[in-house]
Symmetry: C2
Amino acid sequence: LDYQHVQVPFEITLWIMLASLAKIGFHLYNKLPSVVPESCLLIFVGLIMGGIIYGLNDRSPPVMDSDIFFLYLLPPIVLDAGYFMPSRPFFENIGTILLYAVVGTIWNVFGIGFSLYGICQVKAFQLQDVSLLHNLLFGSLIAAVDPVAVLAVFEEIHVNEKLHILVFGESLLNDAVTVVLYKLFRSFCEMPTIKSVDVFAGVGKFFVVGLGGVLVGLSFGFTAAFTTRFTKDIRVIEPLFVFLYSYLSYLTAEMFHLSGIVAIISCAMGMKRYVEANISLKSHTTVKYFMKMWSSVSDTLIFIFLGVSTIGENHEWNWPYICFTVIFCLVWRALGVLVLTFFVNRFHVNTITSKDQFIIAYGGLRGAICFSLVFLLPDFHRKKLFIAATTVVILFTVFVQGMTIRPLVDLLAVKRKRESAPTVGEQIHIRFLDHLLAGIEDISGHWGQYYWKDKLEYFNSKYLQKILLREYDQPKSSIVLLYEKLERKHAIELAQAGQLGHGPAHPSFLCSAFLCRSSNRTVITDQKLEDTPNPDVLDNMQEILARNLYRIRRTGPAYNRHTLPGDSEPTERAKEILILRHKSL
Amino acid sequence: LDYQHVQVPFEITLWIMLASLAKIGFHLYNKLPSVVPESCLLIFVGLIMGGIIYGLNDRSPPVMDSDIFFLYLLPPIVLDAGYFMPSRPFFENIGTILLYAVVGTIWNVFGIGFSLYGICQVKAFQLQDVSLLHNLLFGSLIAAVDPVAVLAVFEEIHVNEKLHILVFGESLLNDAVTVVLYKLFRSFCEMPTIKSVDVFAGVGKFFVVGLGGVLVGLSFGFTAAFTTRFTKDIRVIEPLFVFLYSYLSYLTAEMFHLSGIVAIISCAMGMKRYVEANISLKSHTTVKYFMKMWSSVSDTLIFIFLGVSTIGENHEWNWPYICFTVIFCLVWRALGVLVLTFFVNRFHVNTITSKDQFIIAYGGLRGAICFSLVFLLPDFHRKKLFIAATTVVILFTVFVQGMTIRPLVDLLAVKRKRESAPTVGEQIHIRFLDHLLAGIEDISGHWGQYYWKDKLEYFNSKYLQKILLREYDQPKSSIVLLYEKLERKHAIELAQAGQLGHGPAHPSFLCSAFLCRSSNRTVITDQKLEDTPNPDVLDNMQEILARNLYRIRRTGPAYNRHTLPGDSEPTERAKEILILRHKSL
């Protein structure tokens, strides 16, 4: 027997196996997962495992290594989160999310830190030796909402998309703030004196960490997209690049002390649409499936390790400090959400209701990130107290809040996520409205989100797509191919029946014409199937539109929309109409 | 900058990235891969990389770690090989493969070892200090054909299936022999005296290592299949089990000093059909794709590392020893193939032609396994000579033989692999013949491969499938579903046209009836589509068959085929015919 030789891979494989089998075990009893969130069950398994190890060895079980957590377990989960991020609600609410993530987190850090310092001043609690800086440091690690915990709970309760993205987006983007504040306070703790320069440097650093992360992520993401242009002959290693580049973006960001989470999310969101277009359908299935699988395993391992690490002798118990930590975490988060939402609602038509606010505040779960950070603290005499307080806060939020949030959502009748995917009709109208709103914003001179979205789309189709997409043989999804076939068949049938060219000119055709041109890739043009337009009416409409928009273009500020018919020269326009007409047959 | 922190994962990711990019690079120039095998190009890249590292650091670049090779790089390749092993040609030629793998390898080891010892006796070569045992040890590591190198070259030249499986199967199964002989000679080298008991123990150990590997592999494979019975609710982690269990089988085998390669191959071959049936189609795509991807990356890394490790100062050059090693490797292999094939051909109708023999002998490529083994040798004063000789043999076989084998295959007009997959008609007839031959073997009392295959199939359908397959909602492939739909439509059309029951009774229907019953899963029944049988004729045929086979059953020895119509009771038979008739409508 030569166990030494295979120990490392053997034990890793066994841990993963245990995690997977635990997952299967829960799902065998269908009722259990609907009452208790999986994260709680996994922590419970971890606690039992930890108890067994503790009982057998008579010493504390191994604590989850912070390096392993940050380097190997966290990236797959964040990559999965970024890759499958619903980009529309995310960008629609980016302002609110950033406000919660940045201002909200800072508010929480200082709120918790100062009020705990206040508690430490009470002589009866015997906590006078915990300095303000240490309290702030503790606040910086306990304040941040944890994406892993939030994802695990919110995926099961199916609240509406906006609410989900607000909590989840905050939990992802607050990483930049947490990194900066945590490192700032940690270095302050080790400095003899703190100059005001250091504080300003800290504020500046926040932008560097956040925006640097975005930059690193996007550059790796675009490189990944560019690489997949050339994988046509070796489809089999395509999925690899998605993983390699996103992991590299995370590691690079970590190397430069930037926010790795922000980097990997930018990378995933940046590369997704190009990679999807470049790689084969099977590769993409593999990418998606493997990402889900990997993140699911990481997630499971994290919660099990969390449970295992809880058992042991590295805790110092102090009732007042621990209880007040839990209370302050809840109170400051609730206050922060209330205040920030008040400001957010003043500037938005689509306000955040008080029910939503409650769920946002209540959904502020803490998880493994805090836990890893508290173990990374430099050794000082009250570290064990902080570990105990962090453990209690995590267990409280995951167990109490995680288990009661579903009944509360039911009780408050919070708006749920719609079950069905939007129909083609809805998608067409959403796109149509987007273009319309972009035009209106442009004309009115208000540079809102639609304006910027349109600009970005223009930049994308003009430059990025040309560089990043493989130009030859765009992979078409089977549904598009089927649709084309049906369309051709339908056209032939119409031609044979002699009905061609006499159908009513449906106004929605105009809409589909918009869409055809504005998007390079044919996505939704099923209107054509229903009716072949009367070319005269179409021409008329285009003439009217073109003339009017030309006039506006001259009077309006900097109008340069690239997709409208009025944009091209008259001869080009005629040609385009011809092509369009040809296509519709 | 904090490079230390992320060094390990960062460097691993970069190596994989380099390997993948090199692969893309080669395929950008379409002509290159058709002339030079990819393995040569990768070694070349490795040589350049090694040269650069050597030039910059002025010391030998790091050598490929044998542990990393055996624990992390080899398993994915072998798993891929085992999972996609064409089981029919493999089992049809298992005897020949085992003969080549066991007797052939032993022949080579002793042939090379003794003749090199002869060379060492020539005083002019200054090699008298290399003992017989050391030469045999060297022979044991240099004799074995390498699966990674064989796979890399033979996948590109597309020789016929039998030839491919002979070389490839040998390269996989000789691992057991290599492990035993290598460890035997290594322990002999360290022993003061060798008793004859030790030699007999070695012979016994061979069976333990080989059969133990099979046993470990099969038990893990069946456990994996059993586990996937319960993954219905969490499809996303299904692919994981395939990888976890096969890796565990490899590690367990290595732990007990059994043959890891044999274990992982048995595991993959054992679980494949059950896992395929249990997991969803998407999971299976992921499994297949990821396996291919992973093995491709491992393969690339191995060849690059091989190149990198070649550069450096750990070589001792001795012209006669190195040249004679290459010559003996070629000569002994050629002799071995000739002699063994002579015996094989005496017992087979479908003989191995002299062209095939040449390619088998010429395709005996050596690769990374030898290389890792030679570095694992205990330190003694001539280790560097062995390293040099191994490197030269590997480079010679991969470059010279690998590059010339394709032209030689063209020149000799070796029978190629058929390009198209077998048609449904062919498949039906192959299966039909299998059943027929099993029956003939059974009746004639000759227990040949068809008899055993049939027995195994019986055991499988009677016990294994019931334990390992999920019984409810068998996943059906889309083609079966489509076929069922078409069949139903066709039946309705026939019914409407009043043609039902008057079609000609096609003899091949009988065959499809055989198949329907003998296989639980409907695979090939498209004969039904072509013609609906006349039930009377069918009944007649079944009656005749049943009666005749019953008679044979009583006279023949131990006839218990489970699938023939005659097997069931008359009432049951009538019922089955009814069901069959119902189905055919």
